[in-house]
Symmetry: C2
Subunit: 813 residues, 2 copies
């Protein structure tokens, strides 16, 4: 009955056609005729549901003749990739049953949700989770109507979708999410459908290399299925229009063993997919067995599948004179004019009936029970795999007591120390204590970011080849805890997959280049926010992003390395899911990180530089300060019991040092001045409490910043963000915010600060300019400060370094 | 003398070592002994200069014994990739001379500037551009000292670098920039050095596919040299640690013919590189000749080179017990402690002297004249190629008169029309009139964005395979003007390369996914800003980004497709180089685009939705309105000659419609109300004039918005951006900004607007709440509005569409 042709190079010329009997790398016919028929019927049942979702609001089983009033008023949804995706899903079901596999499904293609939803519905999960979408005609009707309907079921694999950890709304992250999910889950298999449109994106193109970071002994496996669906919205896809030889070479080059399943003839395609998928699963199990039996990891050539089927497969080949199946016209709603064209309505009815719903569903509207038996049971059903509701699997992190890693600080502002290095010891022990549920991710910068100490507890995972030099501090290992690839996208994608499947992690990055993943972080925030509305979703660990190598110490690397604007992007996300911290010193950094590691369902962004900086607060002070998130620093203030003349405020480490130095300069030149020093750790404290759960009330705000005194606020990032956060505060006109104003070059730290008006001299001068009634004293102080600034600038200009009295400055009081 | 071994699969196991005699795909020895020696000397001269740049402030030719005071106080710069890059540069020089080639060099690796700078200096260009860096010991001293020195020469190929259009500060864009630069320059060759770190990034990984978009008849060529330098900052690179077989397969899969040159032995490496590069250049010329002679384009397998050399090549193999050459320790400053360690200082001196500066440079300090003859002359020198100062080659666009494409608008707000489709006709004619200097770029969305009309003038470039379906509206062609690949990164990279080399273009994208290239746009802005400070740089055409498929009409696609926050990222860039426009209707869109196409050295961001929307202004009104950038709309205001009770303001197309509808509702319910209607096209009008060249004075601002009346401002994007722009305005407390507040789901347009408080009812209610003394009239109007809102919501909830009276609403006055 089947007739699978082996792919060979001679087929090269015709392999770009998706039509005909199956051509496949594996040439076996493992299924009986009866099995083929049942699988095909199940397949048709899913496809019937897909069309139902797109079109119907009534008459779900077409037991009445189809009329316009059965059709939704607004037609939405995507047909194009549904058949191919469902095909893969169903064939995986067979193997899950046969081998009792622990597997779940990632749907990469953007709008393939009907395929996933229909399978979840047929395996009964959807009705268990959403009882009103019951397995009968009434439930089916609701299921259909609510798809892509206001307030209803999304057209991607949204958080509401059982079995999904990957929405697929923005493309490119399916493979990295899949790898993230299977790290440290040795028995898990992520069946990952990669759209051929998605495959053109940069993040996806490089994520194939994730196989150099997967340990067959301790991690699970990813089975990618590249779906050569042929078309995107309006264009052919690149990978479907290159020769078979190139396509094969590409994936061999990426380190995979590609198996091909190509065609449109359903019976032979079922045989081809069944045999090929079984080959892949067998290889995966063999690889794992070899590594586990021997206790030795290695990098195998993991199997993958290239599945070429026509876009809109099983639909009409042509509508009028236009191609539908096998062309981009089948991408979205395949017949668009059914509401206004009787003949189109009739075509739709014929098409839907061609799947024989009466044969597939029983009287009540439930799937025929012998077909139902094709799906796995209980948690083995892919849409019920516990990993896809990862929070339910989460174990709390074993955290060492961060207080034991703190710095002794006798007096604030008296000593210089590398906060990041201090934090690294703590982080090393977090790694140590959590050998299977915590990983650190970063694009080749962990050591540069002064976190190298963590390699003592967990090395860098590296399944690539080794050279003798690696022994010289290479810190590479087959089994490790640190994931470094020079792709922010892949690192972030891995981390997202890792936390969504219930584990914990931290991404560290140079601050300027975190913008590379703006959009990924946006999407993760959106995912988290929606999850809060989905009752059955258990909260997952927060995604922690540590930004270091920050703008104020990227003076030497120049303008391209200076961009602290990621915070602006994060601030646009929902207050329910984002947190931003700028700890000013080591103890505050430790306290903040401990807090972040305990939190759930946030994106935490922590900004701290890696160089040596002043230390301000001892352990107890740091606890108090970080708990409040903002506070007056007594050691640096001299307005005790009085109204201040000026408030000097800061948020960020380097800028706090400059603000403090400015305070000292003011006191040096204007001894009578009453100065209050304020520091902000938790950026959202600045927002009114009605807008963010961390926000201060106006009263609190006033008690710290006053309502009528000038405040010189030195901010780590672009200054306008502070204005945006405080625009509703009374007295916001008195806030004079300094920060990075996009003025940079190859500089010294001082010069960079001066260009942006965020150096100690400029801040002190600003204060003088804003405080009324200073008179001559003010004028002469101003002049003296200007001279000091000029002198310091001249020195750096000639020597290429800052005056030592600047770099080693400490608080003199 | 040479001994090149052909790469074979048997070499697989050892090919990961970078050491020894050259192994190469091409096994010829084209150079005489004398040529090898001279090339090697030239090579050494560049390397001597690289070290000089990193270390020396005095004693440039080491004619005195090296002392600490000759060393810079702060050591900065990167040695790691210098040798490999310079090696490639020098070998290209030979072929430029031999074949009179028109070529330039793109340096992908982040910190490889010393290699580029030293070559520019030796070929005399640097001294021509910067006369005080003369070709003598004094000029050399200044050249050395100012490298990576405050205010000096950057450590990347910054805009100040002659011959650079690609800074390389952020990684991943070298290949897409190169392709962009050679499109429509048929004789140009971009020699493109790709770092193996960079090669791990997503954008780079997918940009290899650019070869499916290059026409050998009408475009130039890119010669990529993948530099297998072996290491990143602290890690091995992926591509240097996979087998030869995989590496070769990968590039065959990407559609290239990879040629390998691997080793460390200098004489044999010179032979190998000379022969391999010559083979590549010959192939490029043959491919082009075939296409041009036959008049038929095709997709060849373009040649590329994989160059494997040790990181830090030619440096000491070890320092004490640690590997230096051939390991990541040579990434940056190779010997770090020369300021504090006499023996290290001595080692540096010995190393530098090993290049024999006395032999290479004459008495005055200039390169020996017989070596100088190795470089090309005049504009053939890569660092003097005119394309790298693209503005000098720019021709003005031939623009049709946009006024001829405008819509007839008798009365504002009375008719619905697709602004984007209207604009498309104009754009089609821009394409038509500029067949070799204008391209449209976009990730598979041009048609979806309603710009499909442009295919009448220029089809989509497609060098991949063709199928019969393509004739059914595929709009593909070998020669076209529209570039579509589902990679925002590649599209943006191509466009950047295209404009930096002097041509014009437009990127169109769905609004939410433009965040994917936040970081690229950041970097392009930084490039443009620095160029303004470089005297010899001629302004290039602006980079135009058209955002459509916007948030307010992504209701049906759900939350992942809703993110208008790109504007926040752009607002952080320098006011000198960014412009943001939100034209409310077709005529304003036309006027705006005409303006953008004429502008130079900006990033213009234009936001306009693709659906049918109300039209407001006729041609003359649109000219006046767009010229001012902000204005009161008389047709929608009834405060003529009086103080308004409230200002209704808007910025964006959909939100203008809602604001106008709110105005109508207010007048319906509260006939006495004096309402002023304001629209903003040019977002930066809102900023004070001292902060942005487009900013309004406070007086102008007051004359439009008043200082004391409530203003309900409906904004297209996140509302906080308006507060950020206006925080300094007197009366900013009266601005009540509505916009997208990150509240979305599968919705109808109305429901989405309501969730975010940006719908007509909410706006009208807000106005009532803010206008004092409305009394009972206000209360009952408020109630009526709430009821109308509820009714409309209920309807969409049940029907899945909005009430027709909402969607077809027109201005009733």
């Amino acid at each position: 009955m089947s007739d699978i042709q082996k792919n060979t190079e001679e087929l090269d010329k015709i392999s770009i056609s998706a039509y005909g009997k199956a051509r496949a790398s594996v040439n076996e016919n493992p299924l009986s005729n009866e099995e083929v028929q049942k699988i095909d019927e199940y397949f048709h049942a899913t496809l019937y549901l897909c069309l139902g979702m797109i079109y119907l609001r009534e008459n779900p089983l077409l037991r009445e003749p189809l009329k316009i009033e059965h059709i939704k008023r607004r037609l939405l949804g995507h047909w194009g990739s549904d058949a191919g995706q469902s095909f893969a899903y169903i064939h995986m079901n067979r193997l899950i049953k046969k081998y009792d596999l622990d597997a779940f499904f990632i749907s990469g293609p953007g709008h393939g949700a009907p395929a996933i939803l229909s399978n979840s519905y047929l395996e009964g999960v959807y009705s268990e989770v959403y009882p009103n979408k019951s397995e009968d005609s009434d439930g089916m009707r609701r299921f259909f109507k609510e798809f892509s309907f206001p307030g209803g079921i999304g057209s991607h694999a949204t958080p509401e979708t059982p079995g999904s950890i990957h929405e697929g709304g923005e493309l490119g992250y399916s493979i990295s999410h899949a790898f993230g999910a299977v790290f440290d889950y040795p028995n898990l298999i992520a069946v990952t459908m990669v759209g051929d449109g998605e495959a053109e994106t940069g993040p996806l193109a490089t994520s194939w290399h994730s196989n150099k970071f997967l340990n067959p002994k301790t991690d699970g496996a990813v089975l990618p299925i590249l779906h050569l669906n042929g078309y995107k919205i309006n264009n052919p896809t690149l990978l479907s229009r290159i020769s078979h030889k190139e396509l094969e070479a590409l994936f061999v080059g990426y380190g995979w063993t590609p198996y091909f399943v190509e065609g449109s003839d359903q019976p032979s395609m079922h045989q081809a997919m069944a045999s090929t998928m079984e080959r892949c699963i067998t290889e995966i199990r063999d690889i794992q067995k070899k590594a586990r039996d021997s206790g030795k990891a290695y990098r195998p050539r993991w199997p993958m599948i290239v599945l070429r089927t026509p876009k809109g497969w099983t639909g009409p080949r042509k509508l009028d004179d236009h191609f539908l199946e096998g062309f981009w016209r089948s991408h979205q709603v395949p017949i668009t004019d059914v509401l206004g064209n009787k003949s189109s309505l009739q075509k739709l009815e014929e098409w839907m009936k061609s799947y024989q719903p009466d044969k597939l569903f029983d009287e009540a509207g439930a799937l025929r029970s012998d077909l139902k038996d094709l799906a796995p049971q209980g948690k083995r059903r892919m849409s019920a795999n516990p990993v896809t509701n990862g929070g339910a699997l989460t174990h709390k992190l074993h955290l060492p007591d961060w207080r034991e890693y703190t710095v002794e600080v006798q007096n604030g502002g008296k000593q210089l120390l590398g906060s990041m290095q201090q934090f690294a010891s703590y982080l090393r022990d977090v790694v140590e204590k959590n050998p299977t549920q915590f990983r650190v991710f970063g694009p080749d910068e962990t050591q540069s970011n002064k976190l190298g100490t963590i390699y003592e507890a967990g090395k860098k995972v590296w399944l690539g080849d080794y050279l003798e030099e690696d022994k010289d501090g290479g810190n590479l290992a087959y089994e490790g805890r640190v994931m470094e690839m020079l792709s922010e996208h892949t690192c972030e994608g891995w981390l997202e997959g890792y936390v969504l499947s219930g584990r914990h992690g931290l991404l560290n990055s140079y601050e300027p280049f975190i913008h590379i993943i703006d959009s990924m972080v946006n999407q993760h925030c959106k995912w988290l926010e929606k999850c809060l509305e989905v009752e059955w979703r258990v909260k997952v660990p927060s995604l922690n992003i540590l930004l270091t190598s920050t703008v104020w110490r990227q003076d030497h690397n120049g303008f391209t390395h200076q961009d602290p604007g990621f915070l602006d992007v994060v601030c646009n996300k929902s207050p329910e899911v984002v947190r931003i911290y700028l700890p000013p010193d080591a103890n505050c950094l430790l306290s903040t990180m401990d807090h972040c590691f305990r939190s759930q369902s946030y994106v935490n962004v922590i900004v701290a530089d890696k160089q040596e900086h002043l230390q301000f607060l001892d352990k107890e002070q740091a606890i108090a300060h970080c708990t409040k998130g903002v506070g007056i620093w007594d050691f640096a203030s001299n307005d005790q019991g009085e109204e201040p003349d000026v408030v000097m405020a800061s948020c960020g480490d380097v800028v706090t040092q400059e603000a403090l130095a400015a305070t000292a300069l003011l006191r040096e030149h204007l001894a009578d001045l009453k100065i209050r020093f304020v520091n902000v750790v938790d950026l959202f404290k600045l927002i009114p409490d009605i807008d963010h759960p961390h926000g201060m009330s106006d009263r609190e705000f006033k008690s710290i910043f006053t309502e009528d005194k000038p405040c010189i606020f030195n901010f780590h990032s672009y200054p306008w963000l502070i204005h945006r956060l405080t625009y509703r505060r009374k007295g916001q006109h008195n806030l004079h915010v300094k920060g990075y104003r996009e003025k940079g070059n190859i500089d010294t730290p001082l010069e960079l600060a001066i260009r942006n008006g965020a150096d100690r001299f400029s801040l002190a001068i600003d204060a003088i300019d804003q405080i009324p009634h200073l008179g001559n004293k003010g004028t002469s102080a101003r002049e003296a400060l200007l001279n000091q600034q000029i002198k310091a600038r001249n020195y750096s200009y000639h020597e290429g370094v800052d005056l030592e009295e600047m770099t080693n400055w400490v608080w003199p009081y």
